[in-house]
Symmetry: C2
Subunit: 246 residues, 2 copies
DNA sequence: TGCGGGATTCTTGTATACAAGATAATTTTT
DNA sequence: AAAAATTATCTTGTATACAAGAATCCCGCA
C-alpha cells in the first residue's frame, strides 16, 4: 500500500509525522503522493487514476479521493474525461511550450527580482545539488528525476517565497510529465551542472548572470524535447492519424 | 440568484453560452463566479462562504459546491476552518509580500522573456485600458476593480500564454483581496496610467523598459498597502491583541 | 470469418444520510 | 446576578446509494 516509508519520500516534510501517512488525518496526502510520484517519473502522462483504485490504496472512500483530484485538477496535473476516468495530463506540444515558457518567465523573473542569496542559502542549494549528483551516480532514476525537478522548488523556497515555490512545484511536475511524453534527451548530468552554475552566479551576487543561466537551462530543457515522438498510446495514435501537429 | 447576466460578467467568455449559467452543465461556474466577485471587490477577505448557502444560490447540492471549494482552495483563494466553514483568504502581511513579490517575478519575467507584441496585440491592450478609463470615469467601482486586475491577465493572454494567464488570475485575485484587507490607498487613475505606460514601452519594442515599468507598478501596489490597518474583524482583533505583527 | 447489436460491467456524477465537532443558547448552580 | 455546565443548533467531514453514460463482451447473423 504505502509506496515508500522513507528514502525518496524523506524530502517531504510531513513524512516525519506518523499521522501524516493517514489520509484521514492529512487531507493532502493523496495529492502529495501523486505529485511526488509524477515528479519521480513513477506515474506516466496519460496514466489512468481510478477513484476506486486510489480509494482502496489510501483506505478511504471515493469522496476523499475525489476531493484530492479536484485540487490536482485545479493545479493542472490531472484531468477528467466524463465517466471514463481521471488521467494524468498529456500536454499538447503547444501546452508544453506554454508551460516551459511560463517557467522561464517565472524563474528568470524570480532571480532578477529576488535573487539575492546569503551564505546559508548557497550552502543549502549546494547540498541539494550534491544530492542530485549522488542520485545520478547511484543510478536511482526516480530519486534523480525528483531531485532535478525539485531543485527549482528548492530555489524558490530558499529565496524565501513559498508562493513561488508552490507555483513552481506544479510547473516542474508538468515539465517532468512533458519530458516523459516527448522523450526528452536531456542529460541528467548536464542539468545538474547547470544547476551548479546558477548557484555559482548567485554566490557572486550576479543575479543577472544567474537569470541568464536559468534562461539557458530552461531553453535546453525545451530543446531536448522531441515533439515528433509522443510516447503515449492515445497521443501516438492521434499524431499518426492527423499528421504533423508541429 | 444570478449575480449578473451581462455587463460585468461579459468579460468571461463562457457567459455567452446560455448553458454556462447552469452549474450542472458548467462545472466551473461556481468558482468562476466567486473569482469574479472577489476580483470585483464584491466579496471581502475573511467573508464566510457557507456550503449550504452556495448550494441554494446555484441550485445544486453541497457536493458540487464542495468540489468547487476544493479547486479554489488549491488556487489559494479560500480556506477551510474545520467544521466552522469556508472563508475567503486573509493573507498575512508576510503572505501579502510573497504574493506581490511572486507577481513581480512572474510579470517582470514575462515581459523580459516573451514581451514581444505586434500591432494587433497593442490594439487589444489599449482597448482594455480604455475600458478601465471608462469604468473609472463612470464610477463603477466593481467594474473598475475587475478591469484593473484583469489587465494583467489580459496581458498574459495577449502575449499568447494561457498558463501564465491562469497563474496571474489567481495572483491578481489574491492581490485584490490583499488591497481590500490592508486598505490600499492606491489611486485607480494612477494605476490605469501605469498600464498605459507599459503598453507604450511594449509598442516601441523595448521589453526591458516595459519590464522596469511593471516592476515599478507592482512596487507601487505594495507601497500603497497599509500594513497597520487591517480591515477584517478577526485579523483586526488579532492584531490588536498580539501587538505589532509588522 | 467478419460484423452488428444488445446486454453487461465498469466508471464517474450527484445527492443524501449521518457522524462529529464547534458555536450559541439555555439552564442550572452558586 | 454571575459563572459554569448542559443542551440545542448549525456546519463541515465522510461514506454510501443510486443514476447515467462509456466501454466491453458476447452472441446471433450474414
Amino acid at each position: 500500500m504505502v509506496i515508500a516509508e522513507r528514502g525518496a519520500l524523506a524530502h517531504i516534510p510531513c513524512m516525519r509525522d506518523p499521522d501524516a501517512n493517514d489520509a484521514h488525518k492529512n487531507p493532502h496526502l493523496i495529492e502529495d503522493r501523486i505529485i511526488h510520484a509524477a515528479l519521480s517519473g513513477r506515474i506516466a502522462p496519460g496514466e489512468r487514476l481510478g477513484e476506486k483504485e486510489l480509494a482502496e490504496i489510501f483506505g478511504v472512500s471515493r469522496t476523499l479521493v475525489r476531493e484530492a483530484m479536484m485540487r490536482l485538477q485545479a493545479r493542472g496535473i490531472v484531468e477528467v474525461s466524463a465517466r471514463r476516468g481521471w488521467f494524468v495530463v498529456e500536454p499538447s506540444v503547444e501546452e508544453a511550450r506554454h508551460t516551459i515558457d511560463a517557467r522561464r518567465a517565472l524563474e528568470v523573473g524570480m532571480l532578477v527580482t529576488i535573487g539575492r542569496a546569503d551564505a546559508g542559502m548557497i550552502r543549502a542549494l549546494r547540498e541539494h545539488v550534491r544530492a542530485e549528483q549522488k542520485a545520478i551516480a547511484g543510478g536511482d532514476r526516480a530519486e534523480r528525476s525528483y531531485l532535478l525537478g525539485h531543485f527549482h522548488v528548492c530555489l524558490a523556497e530558499t529565496l524565501g517565497n513559498p508562493v513561488l515555490a508552490s507555483l513552481l512545484q506544479d510547473l516542474t511536475t508538468r515539465t517532468v510529465l512533458i519530458a516523459a511524453l516527448y522523450q526528452s534527451s536531456h542529460d541528467a548530468h548536464e542539468s545538474c551542472g547547470e544547476h551548479g552554475g546558477i548557484i555559482d552566479a548567485l554566490e557572486t551576487g550576479d543575479t543577472t548572470e544567474a537569470a541568464r543561466l536559468m534562461d539557458v537551462h530552461l531553453r535546453h530543457v525545451e530543446k531536448a524535447l522531441n515533439y515528433r515522438s509522443v510516447s503515449s498510446r492515445l497521443n501516438h495514435l492521434k499524431a499518426a492519424l492527423q499528421g504533423s501537429a508541429d
